[in-house]
Structure formats: structure tokens, C-alpha cells
């Protein structure tokens, strides 16, 4: 079945709407996510700990369930779009199955296709993710505006790109083989980082301004939390970032100032995989290989 003609101009997917993450110590991690990072903890289903970052009902959840507790939620325009996506993914031999009513309930969505990308990252394609009528009320003044997007580890970036392109995402720029993927007016919502393993690399939350990036940077230093990179600024997207690592290697990021892609189509630009492309201020990744450049290509020869 093809999509109804009236929907031809609408995108298949519209947002990255949640991150579900499995950790060994959800309570310790929850302390980091709320008290340190600044998300609002709210009641969760079953054993899941849930958090808000904006007017969405949930954007982060933590559980011990390594099998079904990890996935990235991608909001799909409607059920017709969901069907198109299902057909496209199956035609290219991606694993896709409809979410059961219980799985949809746990994800606070109306309907879902549960898919695996080429690396085995679980991607939930969902419709009507729940919104909240109450405004977001954070536990501390971190200046979080909204959940913005994710960085994903990719073990098979050719196949993963095929996956995301089938959903309508476009590569806006490359840094080496790191691909920035756009699904709306922003430079990217999803970034694929070549890696030896799959999984979430970071979940990024937009803050109001540079002020909050810097305030959070000093807050982390004062609290002896681990900043794995930043404050820094991506050369391709102009986005200012601060990557902070919590328990179990969970990296949450504050971001601000991402470029919009504009109306004129342009080919994806290639940046070399070096420190300057990843951060034009000069920050370097500490022990997160995906965020860093090989040691041989440093700033001085950029």
C-alpha cells in the first residue's frame, strides 16, 4: 500500500522522542540524571525510572532490562507513514516487528514498529508519543529546553545509513565517516559514529544559551563529575556542546546553537577526521574513542 496522496509532502519521521537505556544500577544512574544533569524524575512503569526534559511525557527511561530496556524512539508522522517505513525496511531485510500493546504502553505511544538498524541498535518507530499537560519543572536550574537528539554507535555504517535513509533522513555533513543526519530543519538530530560496538553514544539536550553550557560546565567541575568533552563547538553544525558521563558510561550532553540547514539543497560536506573538525574551540575527548580523532591528526596540521 502506498501513502495517501494528501500525505506526500509530509515527512515520514519528525523527531527523536525518547531514549530508553539499560543500566546495572538504575537508582545510582537516576541520581546522576536528575540531581546532577537536571532532568525531572517522574513516575515510571514497572521497574523503569522515567524522566522528562520538556513537554513530552517521558524522554529518558532507565531500567535493568538489558533485553528490552534499550531503544531509541523515533516519532513517525502517522500510521500510514509507519506502514510505508515497515514495507521499506522489510524490503531491505531489516528486522522489523510490530510492537505489542504492552510494549506500546511501556513506551507511552499509540503504535510502534520495533526495528534493528544494521548495527543492531534498537530503533522504535512510534506514532503519537504521549505529551504532558503539565509544564516541565526541573530539579535544578540547568536551563534545559528540550530533548534534542542522539549520537549512536555504528558497527556497520553503510548498512546503518541505508536504514536511516529509508526513513527519510539525509546526511548533511561528514567528519571522516561520522555522519550527521537531518530529519527536520536542524543540521542534525542523529549522528552515527563508527565504533567497535553498537549502542547509545550520547543523548543531547538543548539548553537556553551558551550561558547554561558554561554554568553546567562549572557545576560539573564543582561536583567532580566527569566531563568527557567540552565545552566545545562542532565545526560542521556550529553546535556548542558539553558531554558529561554518568554511571555505566551513560553520556548526557548539553547542546546549544545548532545551525539550521536552510532551504537550498546542498551536498553533504566532508570534514577530515581531526580534532578541529570535531571541536573548533580545541576541546578534546577524554577516553571516549568515538568522540575523538586519531592521535596522528591533531589541530596543528588541520
Amino acid at each position: 500500500m502506498s501513502r495517501p496522496a494528501a500525505n506526500q509532502s509530509t515527512p515520514l519521521i519528525t523527531s527523536v522522542c525518547y531514549v530508553r537505556h539499560a543500566v546495572s544500577e538504575p537508582q545510582a544512574c537516576a541520581r546522576f540524571v536528575s540531581d546532577i544533569f537536571g532532568l525531572q524524575q517522574v513516575a515510571g512503569h514497572d521497574d523503569e525510572l522515567a524522566f522528562r526534559s520538556d513537554d513530552r511525557f517521558r524522554t529518558v527511561s532507565l531500567s535493568r532490562d538489558q533485553r528490552d530496556g534499550t531503544s531509541i524512539g523515533i516519532e513517525v508522522w502517522d500510521d500510514a507513514a509507519l506502514q510505508v517505513i515497515g514495507e521499506r525496511l522489510r524490503a531491505q531485510d531489516f528486522a522489523v516487528r510490530p510492537g505489542s500493546p504492552d510494549e506500546c504502553r511501556r513506551r507511552y505511544v499509540q503504535s510502534a514498529l520495533l526495528a534493528d538498524d544494521g548495527s543492531g541498535n534498537r530503533i522504535d518507530l512510534v506514532t503519537r508519543p504521549t505529551r504532558s499537560g503539565r509544564r516541565y519543572f526541573p530539579p535544578r536550574d540547568a536551563g534545559i529546553v528540550q530533548f534534542q537528539g542522539v549520537g549512536l554507535r555504528s558497527t556497520d555504517h553503510v548498512r546503518d545509513l541505508t536504514f536511516w535513509r529509508l526513513l527519510g533522513a539525509e546526511v548533511t555533513d561528514w567528519v571522516g565517516d561520522i555522519a550527521y543526519l537531518s530529519i527536520d530543519h536542524l543540521h542534525h538530530r542523529i549522528a552515527l559514529y563508527p565504533s567497535r560496538r553498537n549502542g547509545l553514544l550520547y543523548a543531547a539536550f538543548e539548553v537556553e544559551a551558551l550561558d547554561q553550557i558554561m554554568q553546567n560546565s562549572y557545576f560539573m567541575q564543582d561536583n567532580q563529575e566527569r566531563i568527557v568533552q567540552g565545552p566545545g563547538r562542532q565545526s560542521a553544525s556550529h553546535q556548542v556542546f558539553l558531554h558529561v558521563e554518568g554511571p555505566d558510561g551513560l553520556i548526557l550532553s548539553y547542546v546549544n546553537g545548532m545551525a539550521e540547514i536552510g532551504d537550498k539543497p546542498r551536498p553533504a560536506r566532508q570534514f577530515p577526521l581531526n580534532a578541529t573538525s570535531l571541536c573548533n574551540w580545541g576541546s578534546e575527548s577524554k577516553d571516549v574513542p568515538e568522540l575523538g580523532a586519531p592521535a596522528s591528526s591533531n589541530r596543528s596540521n588541520a
Partner: protein
């Protein structure tokens, strides 16, 4: 009243001009305008020079302010002398060394060397930086004061400075629309507490932070943001212990007639709203 138009230059003594030049070009990013007579002239904007190192005692520190014309200079000299400040009329040779038409020298109540100058030279060639620090120009100084209330009276009553904001008893004073050109800093002796250059963007402040860190230049405060002027800043230490500042986004006072100085408490958040803390740099003592 002595009408100061703008800050014009800083002159610093240094026992090691070679080291001063290395820092000024490789770290700070100024342009060498010339070397001569045991002096090093540096540019930061359209002016022929804004910083001069001369071979000598690093305690020899002078700040120059521009006044309108030679008549104003004569009036200023008379005013200062009537108040008991001995005035030195600059010789032609001294004026040439300063790249100005004429000047007078005196000491403020704390004992800081101040010069008033007329017709400071501009350069026909645009400023071309020695490194890409994004400097747009020399902008203000922090000036030591042994008695901030007394010195505030001097700068605002004998001269035309106006207080834009205060942190504790420390006044940030303007002589034009820019939030401050003179920041008084309580100290046991006279001297220049810091020298500010404006840069083009936030990016320049943060880039310089990483750049100077890598070169092991001591960062003494920042990157941060002053809640008073709104400027994003970075303070770091140069030769002879002199502190230099990069900043961007200093507010302008929009309505001269209605602006009232705001009072900020004497506490760390009044100096930095981001949470940076000074290290190796004394904030004005209460």
C-alpha cells in the same frame, strides 16, 4: 572638568623585551608596529599603537587617555595643578615616543601614572594580527586603588567618568558609551591590574582558553561572564605578572541621562555568572 574621550595606550616597563614580544605575538596575538629605542610598539586595532613595552622596571606602568585638543590639555593641566597634582608637560621627544601630538603626565590619588594625550596616531594600514585571536581592539584597564571611594571621586568629579555599576565598593566607570573603561581594584599599591582587549566572538574566548592552556599560559580567571557588563571573559598572565583579559560583548550604556549604577554584592557570582573562580589572581579586596 577633564573630558576623557577614551583610553589610548598602556606603557609597561620590562627587563626582557624579547620575552615580552614573544608573549605579545605568539600568545596574546598583537601586531608588532615597530621596535626602536629599546621599546616595542604593539597594535591591536586601527591605532598606530596601543601597548608599548620599554626596557626598564616592570613597576613602571602608565595608562594614557585621549582628550579633545591642546586647549583641553592646557585646561586639564591647570585643573590638576590647582588640586595639588604635579603635572609633567611632555617634551617633543617624549610625545614622539608615544606617537601623540602632545601630552601631560601626572599621578592619580593612588599614585598611578596617568597621561593625557591629544592626537594619538592612527595607522593607514589595517590591524593584522600575529595569531588568529580575534582581537578587535584595546578597550579598558583595571586600575589599582588604595582607596576606591576617594579615587572614584577623582575620576568622576575631576574627570568626566561615570559609574556604570558597583561590586561592593568597587566602581566600574565609563568615559563614553562602553560600560567601563576604568575598573578600580582595591590594592595595597598603585599599578595596572589588568589590560583588556576585546575579541570578536564567544568562539574567540573559548578558542583562546584551549589555545593558551595548551601553551601553559596561566589562566587566572575564566572562561566566564561578568553579570555587570555582560561580557564573556578570559584572564591570563603575561610577562612580569601582568594580567591580560580577552572579552566580548561589553554592553553599552544606552541612555546616559537615565542610567543608574546597579549595586552588586561583593561575592563570586558578581564577578562571574557562569561559576568560574579566580585562580592566581586577586579579586578586589573588600
Amino acid at each position: 572638568m577633564i573630558q576623557l574621550k577614551d583610553v589610548s595606550y598602556v606603557r609597561l616597563g620590562s627587563p626582557d623585551l624579547e620575552q615580552a614580544e614573544h608573549f605579545a605575538t605568539a600568545c596574546l596575538g598583537l601586531q608588532v608596529a615597530g621596535r626602536g629605542g629599546k621599546a616595542l610598539y604593539l597594535r591591536s586595532d586601527e591605532r598606530a599603537h596601543t601597548l608599548c613595552y620599554s626596557e626598564g622596571d616592570p613597576r613602571d606602568q602608565t595608562v594614557g587617555f585621549e582628550v579633545e585638543d591642546e586647549a583641553s590639555l592646557q585646561d586639564a593641566a591647570a585643573t590638576l595643578e590647582s588640586l595639588g597634582h604635579p603635572v609633567h608637560a611632555g617634551t617633543a621627544q617624549e610625545a614622539e615616543q608615544r606617537k601623540v601630538k602632545a601630552f601631560i603626565g601626572f599621578r592619580d590619588p593612588t599614585g598611578n601614572h596617568i597621561e593625557l594625550v591629544v592626537r594619538a596616531e592612527r595607522s593607514g594600514r589595517r590591524y593584522f594580527a600575529s595569531r588568529d585571536a580575534g582581537i578587535t581592539g584595546f578597550s579598558h584597564i583595571g586600575l589599582n586603588s588604595t582607596d576606591p571611594a576617594r579615587d572614584e571621586r577623582f575620576w568622576t568629579q575631576v574627570c568626566n567618568a561615570r559609574v556604570s555599576d558597583r561590586i561592593g565598593e568597587i566602581p566600574l566607570m565609563r568615559v563614553n558609551a562602553i560600560h567601563h573603561t576604568i575598573a578600580l581594584v582595591r590594592a595595597p599599591q598603585s599599578g595596572i591590574q589588568h589590560i583588556n582587549h576585546q575579541v570578536d566572538s564567544n568562539d574567540d574566548v573559548l578558542r583562546s582558553y584551549y589555545f593558551l592552556n595548551e601553551r601553559r599560559v596561566p589562566i587566572v580567571f575564566g572562561p566566564g561572564r561578568h553579570p555587570t557588563s555582560g561580557a564573556r571573559f578570559l584572564y591570563f598572565k603575561g610577562p612580569d605578572g601582568m594580567i591580560f583579559e580577552y572579552s566580548v560583548g561589553v554592553d553599552e550604556v544606552e541612555d546616559e541621562a537615565t542610567h543608574r549604577p546597579r549595586q552588586f554584592g561583593f561575592e563570586p557570582t558578581s564577578f562571574c555568572m557562569w561559576g568560574s573562580k579566580p585562580a592566581g589572581m586577586t579579586l578586589p579586596n573588600k
